[in-house]
Symmetry: C2
Subunit: 100 residues, 2 copies
DNA sequence: AATATATATCGGCTTTTCCCGATATACCAA
DNA sequence: TTGGTATATCGGGAAAAGCCGATATATATT
């Protein structure tokens, strides 16, 4: 993954908020139905409501974060659950400390 | 400084390269006249030649990096020397590790 | 099969970024 | 003061990002 693409993914207030919200799903998404936060994450609809942007925009933003390896997705039935990709985030940390 | 602005500053290949080049000025800018790398950094002209973009573009890019606290500038005569702002970069590291 | 719900993708309008050449400003030297 | 060099700023055209509504796709239910 290109470093530039990772930083672009982080160059947006809403996307930074999403990453932050996903640090504590139980706190930030109390309305989640069938909550299985730890295993799969939070579904798109809940994130969309919280962010207050359109469904298509949030879907796109999550795809951008996923392409940057900052979140991962799991499809369960008609829902897609997103959670933080701690490996990808740790790798970013490494990039900052060594390559930047 | 807004986190988003820091990441925007890093969302460009040339700006990332400049930050990298400034890690070892003696290596990357052997042509620098009156080299006083450790104290003041590298002048705009040298960076411009190395980057291969226009003078105005590089001046603008350095201003963007400076606004993000990633480099600092020192004016000496008709030259402006830029070097890495290690404090700002360290603070970014902290942001990634704690707030992201 | 028909309908309903969740998400992804598409087309498009608006704003921002990229990068340039031209010009302005700052400093130096004669 | 005049001219030369280094950098900053301005104006703008092209490309990308932000964000939307409409539509397509996938899955579930009846």
């Amino acid at each position: 993954m290109d470093q530039v693409e990772i930083f672009k993914a982080l160059s947006n207030k809403t996307r930074l908020q999403i990453l932050n919200w996903l640090k504590d799903p139980a706190l930030n998404f109390p309305e989640q139905p069938n909550a299985d936060f730890e295993n799969v994450g939070v579904c798109v609809g809940q994130i969309q409501i919280k962010a207050g942007l359109s469904q298509s925009t949030i879907s796109e933003y999550l795809a951008i974060l996923q392409r940057a390896d900052l979140v991962s997705a799991t499809r369960v039935g008609q829902w897609t659950y997103y959670k933080r990709n701690q490996e990808g985030i740790a790798q970013l940390s490494k990039i900052i400390n060594s390559e930047l």
